[in-house]
């Protein structure tokens, strides 16, 4: 009511300029979502139908290798060249998309599951539940970068994508759990939750129907971005020799092998690195776009 009485600010012809600005901004916003979304869609397609995409250049079989061609550069039909084993680089990079994306998604899912369960428990019930979860979170935040994952994975004999995902997920949940706890706490005091409590609904029902849907947005944004971080972490672990193992095909393994021959055959390192960097960039951009779209505080 009060606002209506305040006269328009002096700069009356502003709206036209403002409209043009928002149109431009909207276009930028649309593109900053569409471009990474397209890149990710292509990568997901690669990881689902690797044979088709690998076949676009060369013979498309990542395991059809010829040592005569070891570390050869681009050749007719093989514009991306060959790796040290004489395997087609393009085919390997395309087939490698799957493990990176699977590990990124799996580890993030595991981390989100733990974070939502513990964060909700702590945030909704408070008291000793909160104490336990907060201390546990601090313990897991206390591990120096990747140290926990390196120590555990080094003791694991067979390091499948599932094992690597599980370990990265188990060490990746604390930041998200803090976020969930915070947003659950802020939702818990709102009128409709109090109303639901007064109506005698069970704690589980209140959490699932009333609290979680209104508290999950921030963690979903963070989870999206963390997919990229997990993909980088997987490649770092693999580079250190405690991640995925051959005969698995992954960008981490290709980058590790390529970095040993970078001086003589840089293409072996560059292509998987480029794919990895683009994937991470796309994931981060999607996360930022989600944040802009979903977080009212950041939208302005």
């Amino acid at each position: 009511m009060l606002d209506a009485q305040i006269p328009e600010p002096a700069g009356a012809p502003e709206p036209a300029g403002a409209a043009r600005l928002t149109a431009r901004r909207r276009a930028v916003r649309r593109w900053s979502f569409a471009a990474p979304a397209a890149a990710l869609a292509a990568l997901v397609a690669c990881s689902i139908f690797p044979a088709f995409f690998a076949g676009l250049f060369g013979h498309g079989d990542p395991r059809d290798c010829d040592l005569h061609l070891s570390a050869e550069g681009p050749a007719p039909g093989h514009p991306f060249g060959f790796d040290v084993q004489g395997c087609d680089v393009w085919a390997n990079v395309v087939f490698g998309a799957r493990s990176s994306i699977v590990v990124g998604l799996m580890a993030t899912l595991i981390a989100v599951a733990i974070a939502v369960a513990l964060g909700t428990w702590a945030g909704f019930y408070g008291g000793w539940a909160d104490q336990v979860v907060s201390r546990l979170t601090e313990v897991f935040l206390g591990f120096p970068f990747l140290l926990g994952a390196i120590v555990v994975l080094n003791s694991v004999g067979q390091r499948s994508p599932w094992a690597v995902s599980a370990v990265l997920g188990v060490f990746g949940w604390p930041t998200m759990a803090r976020l969930v706890r915070g947003s659950v706490r802020s939702v818990r005091g709102l009128d409709y939750v109090v109303a639901a409590t007064t109506m005698g609904l069970s704690g589980r029902r209140i959490i699932l129907r009333h609290v979680l849907p209104n508290a999950l947005t921030p963690v979903l944004i963070l989870a999206t971005i963390s997919i990229g971080a997990v993909i980088v972490a997987e490649s770092s672990l693999t580079y250190l020799g405690v991640g995925l193992q051959p005969p698995a095909i992954s960008w981490g393994l290709q980058i590790a092998a390529g970095s040993r021959h970078f001086q003589t055959a840089p293409h072996i390192l560059i292509w998987p690195s480029l794919f990895l960097a683009v994937t991470v960039l796309a994931v981060i951009m999607i996360g930022e776009a989600l944040r802009t779209a979903l977080d009212p505080k950041r939208a302005a």
Binding site: G142, N154, S236, Y239, I284
Partner: protein, 310 residues
């Protein structure tokens, strides 16, 4: 009185975290499959009596919690234990700390200087080509894994251009440290610049900055004192935490540039199943990490007077 109670509570929390992390590391090293004594001997089978003697010496036959208890007892006396060759872990680390500290501090300084500068320039030139260009550059750079940057910059600046040593520490500081520190700093400085830009944009439009301008202070003082100090909190928090990581988390870069630091020692120990060394070095790193987290609190108190009253 209240502050004292808070401090005690904080310290108790830290002690709990310390016990938790060291116990998890201890479990991961000694309770997971993989016999450290067998790994010690390589391919040759050890005699049963030797194995038994070693197991006894390193308390490996005791239940895991009892081993951990003995380890804690040693810690209280300032003893980090000895590796399987009998060398004290403290001694193993002693010669390696200078390398790691020099590397971490160099990287940290680069993060502070370049990261803050980029963030401030972006905030002052908000919405321009400079702002967007710097943002794109820092985001792109932070998407490339650190070891790819390491290998590539080693080839480009070390081998091709021959500006800096390729590896090792023979040329001392700064020559041997600039390249690896620069590579490590890339990720941190893009984070710092983003935090700094966001906070700075916010404070530049805040009332107290407008008030400072209205009082006639020049742009240097308004930006450098009024806006800067209040914008530093997020970046300073990140930087303090990051120093903890830098001091312990440079395993990959120390490996690539062949720097004999603590990260290198830790990683070798993990690969060779040198359990006592892994636990000892990890313990030292955790202590550093906890100290930096106290440092973060101190920085908050120093920069944000509102917290001091609460």
């Amino acid at each position: 009185m209240r502050t004292a109670a808070k401090a005690v509570q904080r310290l108790a929390g830290l002690a709990l975290v310390f016990l938790g992390v060291t116990f998890v590391i201890y479990l991961a090293v000694f309770a997971l499959p993989g016999d450290p004594i067998r790994a010690l001997a390589g391919d040759k089978p050890l005699e049963a009596s030797t194995v038994a003697a070693l197991r006894l010496k390193y308390n490996l036959d005791l239940p895991i919690w009892e081993q951990y208890w003995l380890y804690l007892g040693g810690l209280v006396k300032g003893d980090l234990g000895a590796d399987f060759k009998g060398r004290p872990v403290l001694e193993l680390m002693a010669s390696r700390w200078p390398v790691t500290i020099a590397l971490a501090l160099t990287a940290w300084a680069l993060e502070i200087v370049i990261g803050l500068a980029i963030g401030i320039v972006q905030a002052l030139r908000k919405g321009t080509v400079i702002d967007h260009g710097l943002l794109a550059l820092t985001v792109l750079a932070s998407c490339v894994p650190v070891f790819v940057l390491g290998v590539v910059s080693q080839q480009v600046f070390g081998v091709k251009l021959d500006w800096l040593p390729v590896a090792g520490v023979r040329d001392g500081w700064p020559a041997s440290y600039v390249l690896p520190a620069g590579v490590i700093a890339v990720f941190g400085l893009s984070a710092v610049s983003r935090l700094m830009r966001g906070a700075m944009v916010e404070s530049l439009s805040a009332d107290y900055v407008r008030a400072a301008r209205a009082r006639g202070f020049g742009p240097g003082r308004v930006v450098g004192v009024h806006a800067l100090r209040n914008s530093l909190i997020p970046a300073a928090t990140y930087l303090a935490t990051d120093l903890g990581y830098l001091l312990g988390g440079t395993v990959i870069i120390e490996g690539i540039f062949n720097l004999p630091g603590v990260g290198n020692l830790l990683f070798e120990a993990i690969r060779t199943h040198e359990g006592p060394t892994v636990v000892g070095v990890s313990t030292a790193l955790i202590v550093i990490f906890l100290i930096t987290s106290v440092l973060v609190d101190a920085i908050h108190l120093g920069l944000d007077p509102r917290l001091r009253r609460a």
